[in-house]
């Protein structure tokens, strides 16, 4: 009988070894997958036990997002007091759809999980208080944000403004926007309904036009083409032939100046400075062909195109046409030089381009968060301005500043003129298609002699002006409103 008893013992031991293996499988090997199953409420409930930190504007008072206590199963509810104005910055915080924008990228701080918060967490834990998250203070200027929104109105587009010396983002307005409140509801049905409505809405409201999406920059890209020319030994007085249209090699297509005719202010030949002031496509096509695709690509890369631009929320980097596409296609080079073809940029990126010129050719890392404060108000993380690159020399920067000033003084951007303040700017009217009105742009900074703000504006598809729309007419006044408000001369 002893043999059977031993066998039985061994058999049972075998069964327990199976249990041991299964327990290891559940709690170790498959643990992540199981725990992240959407039907597992544990992680979400734990997460909502935390008094999530506020997201504030740069004044540390204006609330972009905050937590309020809730009576339901989930303890804290996320609220956005001015939802449409800041949705592209805060993002949403949803039981169903997760997080986006700052709610996502600063989640460790907001949810109190960052190591810096450990001492506070411990005290809260010992006192039986709910865990508190840190407060994220953004660089956004709330007054300016409102000015930009009012100036843009309900026209699809975006406004971005940066402090050129620090890279701090002062304004980030996108239209269309969305309301993160219903998405962040604890009731999954409410969140799903809101989500579905946003999916069906025109213009992808969940993606911010200011930084999540990009568009052909049109003539504002001439800033980069001019920079490439200056960096490669040409000067503002370098001259090119001035025909009414540029016959593109290898094809029958041509590039013409906006409104037709030759470049104004020139004769047989026209200078780079003039061509820039009046945004002459023909001349810039010639410059592009002379420089070649590779130099243009290099210059745009120096400005962060096709690079990973570090930013606190998703940033759709600028795109330049691939060099492969230029092989046997010289017209593509010419069209890229005037910001068409496959060139794309988001408005924040164009504001950074303006800021680099304003900042003596030094491109600062764009920065959306100034500092993070613990629940007691102590600063636990401070974001210092950081140089990200030097796309151009300081000589090039000062020449470009002069060129851009001439645009506002007497060129295509006179609508941005502000009495008493020198403004540097560049218009853009991207006729990317024959079927739709152009995207109109304006990139500017001011005061030109001592820049404090750089702005980029895009109004998509003409903003209601149809084919008559141009950057100077539609986008420049918006940029002017923002600059005026910031420099304190606006009415």
């Amino acid at each position: 009988m002893d043999r059977q008893i031993r066998r039985m013992a061994v058999a049972l031991l075998g069964l327990f070894l199976l249990l041991l293996a299964q327990v290891n499988y559940i709690q170790v090997f498959a643990a992540d997958e199981l725990a992240n199953n959407p039907a597992n409420r544990r992680l979400i409930i734990q997460e909502y036990e935390v008094d999530r930190g506020d997201i504030l504007a740069r004044d540390a008072r204006t609330v972009l997002a905050r937590s309020v206590t809730s009576r339901g199963e989930l303890r804290f509810l996320r609220r956005y007091p001015d939802p449409h104005l800041y949705a592209g910055i805060t993002g949403y915080y949803s039981v169903v759809f997760g997080r986006s924008e700052l709610e996502q990228s600063y989640n460790d701080y907001l949810s109190g999980r960052a190591p810096a918060l450990f001492p506070t967490n411990l005290v809260d834990e010992l006192l039986g208080r709910p865990k508190r998250g840190a407060t994220v203070i953004t660089t956004i200027d709330p007054r300016l944000q409102e000015v930009a929104r009012d100036a843009l109105g309900d026209r699809p587009g975006a406004v971005a403004a940066v402090d050129p010396a620090t890279g701090e983002v002062l304004v980030l307005v996108s239209v269309p926007s969305f309301n993160p409140n219903p998405l962040s509801s604890h009731d999954p049905a409410t969140a799903r309904d809101a989500w579905r409505a946003l999916q069906d809405a025109p213009g992808q409201p969940l993606l911010a036009n200011a930084n999540d999406l990009f568009y052909p920059p049109g003539s504002t890209f001439k800033i980069l083409t001019a920079a490439a020319a200056l960096e490669n030994g040409l000067g503002p007085d370098s001259e090119w032939d001035n025909p009414p249209e540029l016959d593109l090699p290898q094809t029958e297509s041509t590039i013409t100046n906006a409104g037709g005719g030759t470049c104004p202010g020139g004769g047989e030949r026209v200078t780079l400075a003039r061509a820039f002031q009046y945004s002459c496509n023909v001349i810039f096509g010639e410059i592009g062909l002379e420089l070649g695709g590779e130099r243009l690509a290099e210059q745009s890369e120096a400005f962060g195109f096709e690079q990973d631009v570090p930013f606190d929320i998703p940033f759709r980097e600028g795109q330049f046409s691939t060099l492969d596409s230029f092989e046997n296609d010289q017209p593509a080079v010419a069209r890229s030089a005037i910001g068409l073809q496959d060139v794309r940029a988001n408005p924040l990126h164009m504001a950074l381009v303006g800021a680099a010129i304003a900042n003596d050719g030094v491109l600062m890392r764009p920065q959306l968060v100034r500092e993070v404060r613990g629940p007691q108000g102590l600063v636990i993380d401070e974001m210092d301005p950081e140089e990200w690159g030097r796309p151009i020399s300081s000589e090039t920067a000062s020449i470009l500043t002069e060129l851009m000033e001439s645009v506002v003084e007497a060129g295509t951007g006179t609508a941005a003129r502000i009495p008493g303040i020198p403004v540097a700017g560049k218009t853009g009217t991207a006729r990317y298609s024959n079927e739709a009105p152009p995207h109109v742009w304006f990139v500017a900074f001011a005061p030109a002699d001592q820049p404090r703000i750089a702005v980029a504006v895009v109004v998509l598809n003409g903003g209601g002006f149809g084919d008559e729309a141009s950057g100077g007419r539609v986008a420049a006044p918006i940029a002017r409103a923002v600059i005026e408000a910031y420099l304190g001369t606006g009415g």
Partner: protein, 446 residues
């Protein structure tokens, strides 16, 4: 381990282990209090005091009534109970899991179980005494199993009719019936093992004993089918039939009984599946618990158990810090998942190891016996504990289809606790040999 001498008569070892169990159990209780309220509630010292009294009484009872017993049994079992108690205190009162305070009744039942434990040790001075009451105990066992079917007594709880209600008292007689059945089988099979080993007949590939000796197998099959079909208790049905077949094999060493048992159980399962959809759906749910279509419905309980353990991970959420209350019936059938969530892999592996030690000592005690009844008794009791723990832990972890049954020593429930402490007392008695009083009367030796 087999060559090691039986660790008999080492009361100091038992005392040390008991103190360790006490510290762990009181500590777990205190941690629950801390985890749930953020402080040590006034009941913590009180409960610690009561636990101290209970653990020391248990230790002294063994020391007094069975001084030569294996010192591992009581501390291991009482640690399982202590951990279970902390978890029960943690789970209730919560409207989702337990409608009222379940720690108090569990505490009372722990006391009752301790009394039953002492009484068993005191009454059964020599386990061989039980060998004299073979059929009485057998009839009592079957009667207990079928008691819930008596009109006016039986109560159906959660679809299974296994409760008996007399006045305010409600209990599950099948739990105690389990003990009686094992004692009966040990006695009956020990007496009949030679006859059952004979194989005059054949049925296909199986060698079979004479029909009249086969009777008990068929009776056991019938009883387990009644439990399955009338009481709708798959877990108990599987447990009884499994124990019966395994003990038959222990006694006779005939593999044919195992095969026959499997065939008969398979027939029962197939009939059950076709008749009720009861069995089949459980297998389905085990396989598909996490499918989005059923994860919120039929699969909910099992899925929540997986989520609980997975979220607990290696280190666990900490006692009182997880959400085991999301598992329906965490305090009875799903105790293991609740412990796994809050104590992590360390806790669940710890519980498994405690069972392995407990069951292993049971088999050790069986091997140490010189006569067949004692061997069968200890091995049978160890098998009951092992199979029951495997059925429920395997079910909760989705290793096998889920059949609702308590986790011995750990789960909430008086009948289960009392029955398991009677089993523990019998194992201790068997490992110790006759009580000192009896030995004194018989003279030294034995």
């Amino acid at each position: 381990m087999s060559e090691a001498a039986a660790p008999r008569g080492r009361p100091r070892v038992q005392l040390a282990l008991t103190v360790l169990a006490l510290v762990l159990a009181s500590g777990a209780y205190a941690l629950v209090s801390l985890g749930r309220t953020g402080g040590i509630t006034p009941d913590v010292p009180l409960v610690a005091g009561l636990l101290l009294a209970g653990y020391l009484s248990g230790h002294l009872l063994v020391r007094r009534l069975a001084p030569t017993a294996d010192p591992v049994f009581f501390p291991v079992a009482s640690l399982l109970t202590g951990l279970g108690f902390a978890m029960i205190y943690r789970l209730g009162p919560d409207l989702r899991t337990a409608p009222q305070n379940i720690a108090l009744p569990q505490g009372i039942w722990m006391t009752v179980a301790l009394v039953a434990f002492g009484l068993t040790l005191w009454l059964v001075k020599d386990h061989r005494q039980l060998d004299a009451f073979t059929y009485t105990i057998g009839l009592v066992g079957i009667a207990l199993l079928l008691l819930p079917l008596v009109p006016g007594l039986g109560r159906t709880v959660n679809g299974a009719q296994l409760w008996v209600e007399i006045g305010p008292l409600r209990f599950q007689p099948s739990e105690l019936g389990k003990v009686a059945v094992v004692v009966f089988l040990a006695s009956y099979l020990n007496a009949k093992k030679e006859i059952l080993q004979l194989a005059p007949g054949r049925l296909g590939p199986f060698q079979l004993p004479q029909a009249r000796h086969l009777g008990p197998v068929l009776v056991a099959w019938g009883v387990s089918l009644v439990i399955l079909f009338v009481q709708k208790d798959i877990g108990a049905s599987l447990l009884y039939f499994g124990i019966f077949v395994l003990m038959l094999w222990l006694a006779t060493a005939r593999g044919a009984y195992l095969s026959l048992g499997i065939v008969l159980f398979a027939i029962g399962a197939v009939i059950g599946a076709s008749q009720f959809g009861h069995v089949e759906s459980r297998i389905d749910i085990r396989l598909h618990a996490l499918d989005p279509q059923i994860v919120q419905d039929e699969g909910y309980q099992l899925a929540q158990a997986q989520f609980a353990m997975a979220t607990g991970g290696i280190a666990g959420s900490g006692l009182g810090q997880g959400l085991p209350t999301y598992i329906p019936f965490a305090y009875t059938d799903f105790m293991f998942a609740a412990l796994g969530e809050e104590l992590g892999l360390f806790g669940s592996v710890g519980v498994l190891l405690l069972f392995v030690v407990l069951i292993g000592r049971g088999f050790r005690a069986a091997l140490d016996q010189s006569e067949g009844f004692g061997k069968l008794l200890a091995a049978g009791l160890a098998t009951v504990l092992g199979v029951q723990a495997f059925i429920i832990i395997g079910g909760v972890t989705r290793l096998i289809p889920l059949t609702g049954i308590t986790l011995p020593f750990v789960s909430y429930g008086g009948s289960s606790l009392v029955a398991n402490y009677v089993i523990l007392a019998l194992l201790i008695r068997t490992s110790a040999g006759p009580a000192p009083s009896l030995r004194a009367r018989e003279g030294v030796g034995g």
